[in-house]
Symmetry: D2
């Protein structure tokens, strides 16, 4: 029996690892350990505690490392303290393998803790390319890691081109597609859809047509408030029922929050529902039923490709990710955004694409981890 | 006037940046700021405070971040706290550019602090290749950095092959060669040579023939005590006057220290002098006058190439660095080590090589930094 | 010339030290150094940066140590990191004396840093007695300190009774009364009063009659949301123009914030102005012109005694502080609160009391510090 | 069932809590949790891991918080990080009561973590009086604590005089006397005595007469090297078989270590055995068989009173502790130290004193804790 420790730092990361966790948990030769850290534990930024509970996944340790986000140093400090506390925990827990996910700023803490303590390290979703500080983080983690589970062929090619050893790279698809697969197969439970926590505004009726917006700050650009105002303007003009997701914790988040609060204040009757967080399954059901997904979330590129969902992708945040035909890219310009949404609304659905996996990545990754651990 | 902040974390790094610091200090358009951190401040591991003072370089801030080194978590914790404190300092100091040096574990703290706070980051000596955790650290820093000053052609080629943008890579040689150049030109001051601090043992007479040993622990291998015993055995058999440098702070250092203390205890009359630290100039004079340099320090590969000094390089620590003809590589085996030293003692000196620079890197790098800052 | 370092961690502390800072700054024998930490630097919780700037007081170092406040561990973590960073700074700054103010949770970090590093420590405002965790913090700091500047006779008696050496205790009054003194003497600038930042709601007309509310969470009680609702109910019933101050950062703050947001949402037309922070002088002008001050702030007990302002003090937070005749104490009960406000509104003003000082404490304290430093 | 968490930070603290831990462990209503921190985990400073293992006491969490001890800031930093990590652990562990022991610098981290998180806190051995920074720490912890278990009548009287509530103070003796009691009753196992780890020097024959030295640095005095040299001189002159304990981790420890190493180097044949650490039982057997105990350890005052052991107590470190007749106090003066040892060697043994407890404190304290927890 070998111990595998998975460290999760944010809401978005959970979707990209959930099916792997479930496959590892079922395996009798693996002692699965889950550590939550930083924004994954904080309600304001999307605590995932309740989703893990619903999914019957036990949390072994929690690291409350998030600093107040108002000063630009908070990302460094959160990472530094997360590193101190995680290394202390790993010292006693003594795993045979550690898994870190994707490219958020805190994930490098996991990579440094494991590599400096000579614990074999798996990185999920290296080799992608986005227009952001995330690129730096992701590539730095790649070079601290021992094994690389990428989500698509292009990502593998990228790592190979960076001189990563080919036999340490495994393209087994993105586990988030597994969840899309289940969500699309399963029957949609209308009641739970109506249970979404609505922050304010007029509640959206999900039986009717609606759109979804997810727009995060782009940490190395500044001007998040001006950016979000372009999107707000387009949405305002559209006057369609809208579900808007609260941005995750990053420098610039406060600019976005401020923009949204002002909009909400001055349009109290607009048919909009603000959401902070949603269980992965409910979330996928929600977007798959929507007419268009707007913003700069990677969900628009990744999960939406498998759904065939029309997407309007704004700005530079996803600029280098490979994409299927369902995406229209636009600039931070309310006119462009508006027109693109209009175009997408005219289309019912695109054809399902498997560029990001075919729905069974969790099992495949768990099996490959067993081979790495010689189980 | 633009502010350039250089963060130095260890004795060895100082040699690789000193001539750059001097060139930057002379430049009227640059406000040079020096931050010392971790082992660069601790006597046991080679404090460099007095060398900076001798060289008239002011220290602007000191970060005492070194944890007790007995637990394997100390490297992660030292890095984490160094990151927290450095980001706090940079927040107020607000530099236009940050420089991080080489590949020691603490240097990634500098890289993360600068990159997460959107401060342009220069990395000195990326693209090299050693057989160690240092490789992971060095490459991770490369991908967090914006500009890369490498020390040789092969290093540049390595970075290019890893998809680093060519126009961000500058091969201007290694600043440590500048110091070799000065040391070799200057007249040797016998008095200062006799002022070396000797930890114990019989003092070595520098007018006579002597050898120098510098062997650090290899952090991802373990067994540092067994490794050092092989070297000790060879030296013991050789019975030649020996200058032995105390290892720097790393996991495994305690194993080496223990081996050396035992040897010293049981051979009180052996002609050996233990040194903890030496000013860069005295150090270079000392090795350039020695008959052979033994161990696994990068000095054997780098500075010694320009001197043409006979070197016996032990084990894997420098295994992938490019080397001139002056180096004989051996395994952790007292017999092999002994024979190689004997061979090198038969040779007076090798021909000078410029693979690591031609002695004017400090000026060249400072000039390029000005161009980057548009000065 | 001797160096005196003052560490300020919160908005409230600034009022209690400002006149001391001004007196120390004027003194040619004193090198005054000001360090800001934690919530004193964060807009959401009352950054004081702009007030120091307005008062021409330079900030020498800033320590961004505040953690996200949603988890109960944040006070310990903020204190711990504040301690790490402050000790590092003091190590280089090397003051002859450190001053820590009052009883907020972060202030013990200053006390531990100074006392463990053998730097003489002055504590401002020990010996008071409140019904809260603040008591524990305040008394613990007393025993880490070398000199004690208390604000009233009872506080001195308290310290003496705790076996603190009498000749180390100085009762020179509370520096916050100095500010009251100036505020009451000076002419009120109506324009600046109208410049207050209003968070939302109907703006209060300061020419007409109004009341002020300041209610913080009581950290060791829990139930801050239920407590605040009682106050809200009373205010709602009163329907008088109201200025409401946002609570400072403490466990339980989120409960209060939530209560206030809900009230604001459901009473969009209520004549209420929410304020986050105000310069000390404007703040004192504001309350001195108000008809009644309601809540549990120490301002109601301390500054208001000198003004003779009618106060309704709610709950246990100030329960053991000595008070003048201007205060009516009530429980967390909307009926009681309502009646007490009504009673106070019937009174114009109470007689000025000097139990907390006579308006010249800053000078006196600065002089005594010079004597301690043998200047 | 209620959870009681005991945090141990140093070798010396273990003796003062061991019998309490054993009594709590036997109790079916108590879930005992043990956390080790800082120097309690580091070999150089007396790791207690193996003693807990021998005593069948499980360690639930380990916090590696010790910084490198060469800079004066290390005590603050170790305390700060210890606080961050302990609060994080307690957050998940969620005990009903926390116990902190005595007065070492790290213990205040435990007190702050528990009190700021509203967890009831027990302090073992408040109210004592020593000539040191320990006094500040001890008294500060008293005011952060909810319950006080003192070791003697005078300590209780001290706390009462400091206005601590009488009904929260319990004088149940010092648990370290329980160990003395067992050690004196039990048969001495000569074999284990001969198994002591000897650091160097001529091994002492325990069948013959010998003396024991334990001298720590006095952190707020400086000059630890000069102080230890006085003791060394007296011991050198005495030429008696000597067991010398290595000092614990404190500012100034390096001065003592240096003095001892020099002595050992220049007197290779002196009959001296250096010890770093010993199990509590072996330790007590060792000192109880010695002719005199010399130095400034509290063991000379406390445990030795119950044994009736002749003690020479040097300097200010224990100056205000109550003592039985067995102690002669001397200054840092080799002549005085020498004479006092000579006097004590003339005496066989003093009469047993129970001023520090009668050997059953562990049970009594555990029972009182149950009453506090209403079990």
């Amino acid at each position: 029996m070998k111990k595998v420790t998975v460290v999760i730092t944010a809401r978005a990361s959970y979707s990209r690892i959930k099916s792997v966790l479930q496959a590892l948990k079922k395996n009798k030769l693996i002692n699965l350990e889950i550590v939550l850290k930083a924004s994954a534990l904080v309600d304001n930024y999307g605590s995932i505690l309740k989703y893990l509970e619903e999914d019957n996944l036990d949390v072994n340790y929690k690291i409350y490392s998030l600093f107040n986000t108002q000063d630009i140093s908070f990302q460094v400090k959160t990472t530094g303290i997360g590193m101190v506390e995680l290394s202390n925990y790993l010292r006693s827990s003594n795993p045979d393998l550690v898994i870190t996910i994707a490219d958020r700023f805190e994930t490098i803490a996991t990579a440094i803790a494991a590599s400096y303590m000579n614990i074999p390290l798996v990185h999920i979703q290296g080799g992608e390319d986005t227009g952001n500080i995330d690129n730096k983080v992701r590539n730095a983690i790649t070079f601290l890691s021992d094994y690389h589970f990428v989500s698509n062929k292009e990502a593998k090619a990228k790592l190979v081109s960076m001189q990563v050893e080919t036999d340490k790279i495994f393209n087994l698809g993105c586990p988030s597609i597994d969840l899309v697969n289940i969500a699309l197969q399963g029957k949609i439970d209308n009641d739970s859809l109506y249970n979404f926590y609505s922050w304010s505004g007029e509640k959206v009726d999900l039986e009717k047509e609606y759109i979804v917006v997810m727009q995060h700050s782009v940490t190395n650009e500044g001007g998040s408030k001006a950016q979000i105002e372009m999107t707000i303007k387009a949405i305002e003009r559209l006057k369609m029922p809208t579900i808007w997701f609260w941005p995750n914790v990053d420098s610039g988040t406060d600019g976005i929050s401020k923009g949204l609060r002002l909009f909400n204040k001055s349009n109290p009757d607009f048919p909009i529902t603000f959401l902070k967080s949603l269980g992965p399954q409910d979330f996928l059901k929600l977007i798959s039923k929507s007419r268009t997904l707007i913003g700069n979330s990677s969900v628009g590129i990744r999960e939406s490709s498998y759904i065939g969902l029309p997407v309007v992708n704004i700005g530079s945040r996803q600029e280098k990710r490979i994409r299927a035909r369902n995406v229209i890219d636009v600039d931070y310009d309310s006119e462009e955004i508006y027109s693109a949404i209009k175009k997408q609304l005219a289309i019912k659905n695109y054809k399902k694409s498997t560029i990001y996996g075919s729905g069974d990545s969790g099992e495949k990754i768990a099996n490959q981890i067993c081979r790495i651990l010689e189980l």
